[in-house]
């Protein structure tokens, strides 16, 4: 069965420092991977995706993610964190065995401290 794991419930980073939010996946076939962000009392907002091509994907708000096939990982990164980046981040994979539904990780709460 396909699955997504986000091993950290919470990540704390000081403002200005680089941040990484981890995601690993298990799929049959080629993965289609996504990152979404959920701000308090808001919906899920698309950040970036990997379908094919360059392993480093750039997305909204200065975020990027690196696809690593050998490690089955798709970690979200940002070189310099902002307090406004504090939110809940979800990694997801498209279920190729189904009709494009997304399978979600549990989410990681990112806290950026001033």
């Amino acid at each position: 069965a396909q699955s997504v794991a986000q091993p950290e419930d919470q990540v704390n980073v000081a403002e200005g420092n680089p941040l990484t939010v981890k995601c690993t996946y298990s799929v049959s076939g080629n993965p289609y991977l996504f990152w979404y962000v959920q701000y308090p009392n808001r919906g899920l907002q698309f950040l970036l995706k990997y379908i094919t091509g360059d392993n480093l994907v750039k997305g909204s708000y200065g975020f990027e993610a690196e696809f690593n096939k050998s490690q089955t990982s798709f970690h979200l990164k940002k070189p310099s964190a902002l307090v406004s980046d504090s939110a809940l981040y979800f990694c997801a994979v498209r279920d190729i065995e189904s009709n494009y539904q997304l399978i979600w990780g549990a989410g990681t709460k990112l806290i950026i401290k001033p």
């Binding site: 494009y100 997304l102 979600w104």
Partner: protein, 114 residues
Amino acid sequence: EPEVTQTPSHQVTQMGQEVILRCVPISNHLYFYWYRQILGQKVEFLVSFYNNEISEKSEIFDDQFSVERPDGSNFTLKIRSTKLEDSAMYFCASKEDPSTDTQYFGPGTRLTVL
């Protein structure tokens, strides 16, 4: 920028009552989805809808649930007889066509069943 909208933002109902959650997908999108997120848990796929019919549904989406696209703009989720465990955040999403992979989410409806 076009966005998915959902109403109401919060719905409180008594157990056994019927509720209808409403969504207006992005206007040129063809695929529609409902997901739910029980407090503190993962986002879970409920159902996908295309060409006026359900294309995929999860085990959660039992006979108590139904979806409808009553006109050219609305996409609704009906729960016929709500249970306490239906309390969750319900997200609607839409996608443009089969060749795209990015689903765009609404802000969600928080359903509280008493």
